[in-house]
């Protein structure tokens, strides 16, 4: 594989006596879709929050997009996109207002924004709904839009924390089409999920249990290694 875009060595995160991340070491390569799996409370969200700069590690060496997490947090922020478990757009703003807000926050010029906005609305079929408040849109549309807004500033990496919670399989599939598209354009995808069928879509997956990474490989290799017919079985064997 090519360049490392995220490199984590011996990451430890403690909350008091509780160890949420116990000595994690892994790399993510440029342009790949990296699945970050684990049961609830395994420590996925903690890791993702540390990588995004929302939380600071207790110890360990971490580089995101080539920058050190401790020293260059501000530079990292310009190079990443983030979509949280909770819906991350403003429900009382319209589609275009949301796009304008985030374009503004990331310092995208008005001209570039207009071009990309038109393109995006067309791609998502939201042209007619562009002046509607987000709150009134179906969940599937909202999530697709939230993802598109998260990568609007062309980040090198986008972190998706359970992006598809609560949507139907068809919408999920379409959402993953967007993820593939972004990955093809060179954006690295770091995604946590509960859905094992989604794990199959990833280039590589890591499976966490009780704060430790128990397995990290391509879905195909993992299935071979655990002698399982699908990722579901792999997951159950690891996480029990």
């Amino acid at each position: 594989m090519t360049d490392k875009i995220i490199s984590v060595k011996n990451l430890v995160k403690k909350f008091g006596t509780f160890t949420a991340n116990d000595n994690l070491t892994f790399d993510v390569y440029k342009g790949e879709i990296f699945g970050f799996l684990g049961a609830n409370g395994a420590g996925k969200t903690t890791t993702i929050r540390i990588l995004c700069g929302l939380s600071s590690p207790t110890s360990g060496e971490l580089k995101v997009a080539g920058f050190d997490v401790y020293r260059d947090a501000e530079k990292i922020k310009k190079n990443i996109g983030y979509m949280s478990q909770k819906f991350s757009l403003y429900e009382d703003l319209t589609v275009t207002e949301n796009i304008q807000l985030f374009a503004g926050i990331y310092g995208i010029s008005r001209k570039v924004r207009k071009e990309k906005e038109a393109e995006l609305l067309k791609k998502l079929n939201l042209e007619e709904a562009k002046n509607k408040l987000i709150g009134g849109l179906p969940l599937g549309w909202k999530q697709k839009l939230a993802f598109s807004v998260a990568i609007f500033h062309d980040p090198k990496i986008v972190f998706l924390d359970e992006p598809t919670g609560g949507v139907d399989p068809v919408t999920r599939r379409r959402f993953w089409d967007l993820i593939y598209e972004a990955a093809n354009n060179g954006t690295t995808i770091f995604v946590t999920t509960h859905y094992m069928d989604e794990a199959e879509y990833c280039n590589r997956v890591s499976i966490m249990d009780a704060g430790k990474i128990e397995a990290l490989d391509t879905p195909a290799n993992l299935k071979k290694m655990y002698n399982a017919k699908d990722m579901d079985e792999v997951f159950v064997k690891i996480a029990r």
Partner: protein, 368 residues
Amino acid sequence: MTQLLSFIKKEFFHISRDPRTMLILFGIPIAQLLIFGTVIKSEINDIHIAIYDQSKDKTTEQITNKILSSGYFILDENLTNLDEIDAIFKKGKVREVIVFDNDFGKNLVKEGTAKMQIIADASDPNTARLAIAYVKGIVNDYIIKTNPNLKMPLEIRPEVRMYYNEEMESAYMFVPGTMALILMLISTMMTSISITREKELGTMEVLLVSPLKPIQIIVGKVIPYLFLSIINAFVIILIGRFVFGVPITGSFILLMLETILFILMSLCLGILISTVAKNQMVAMFISMIGLMLPTIIISGFIFPIENMPVVLQWFSNIMPARWYIIILRGIMLKGIGITFIWKETLILIGMTLFFIAMSVKKFKIRLE
């Protein structure tokens, strides 16, 4: 800069699209001002009284006439024996009974002492206190005028002139106080709620992951509410001036500058609260209970600070509204300039800086 502008624009969208926010911002202040201004009064009007005149001489008649012609009292009944007093209070309408002793006028001239009794229904202590003070004043006034050389056993007060508020208009007292209360509540509550709302909805995370700096988020939150609160202050001053007739004897510009300072202070306090509060409910609770009650009770808004227990007096020093009320009353009623209120102004500036520093620090800690 564009970052900040897009953020401020978004805040205005939030405010203008939420009817509840608009109501809190503009409906409540006006309602509160009108209610405080008209309901809470420190002057009395049309107090119902009864008189038990055992003497029925010329002096008592004159005093009675003087009391009744003062415009503050309405005579309901003339009593004929002491037992009636209790009964008439129980009926509830009469709030004060004046009893003249036997041979009141005669004793006054002959011995220089005469006895009268003023009994008030103190189930409403405030009104009772005022009603008694008024009657005392009227009686003293009468006696001093009719017997200039007489030394009285009745408490003789020096003549009191109510400076700055000649008619003892309570609106003069309450408009500055209400203004402080409203600006403080609205500014503090609105900012703390709007930030905690972002925390609850999860949008705060997205903002924190973005290149926006904490100070930009804080400034972006403060500016829209600063703007709206200034409008609010204007409306309150206008209502004070034209509905309650409260004058602005001092400099209007100074008044506005001090007001902006106070608003800024409140907004920063609101942000500080939001960094502590986990959700909108907590934020609202802290702003309402934690600020409204102390502001009403110990900031000198209604009750004079000098009469409080020492601990509360000390405590009132940390109430920002206390200093703002002093400034407001100074400028509006006394017409004094900055040379007389620089100390209070400095205290407000100090508080503002303190809250800003704390908020920025806490905001970073929150990223933990």
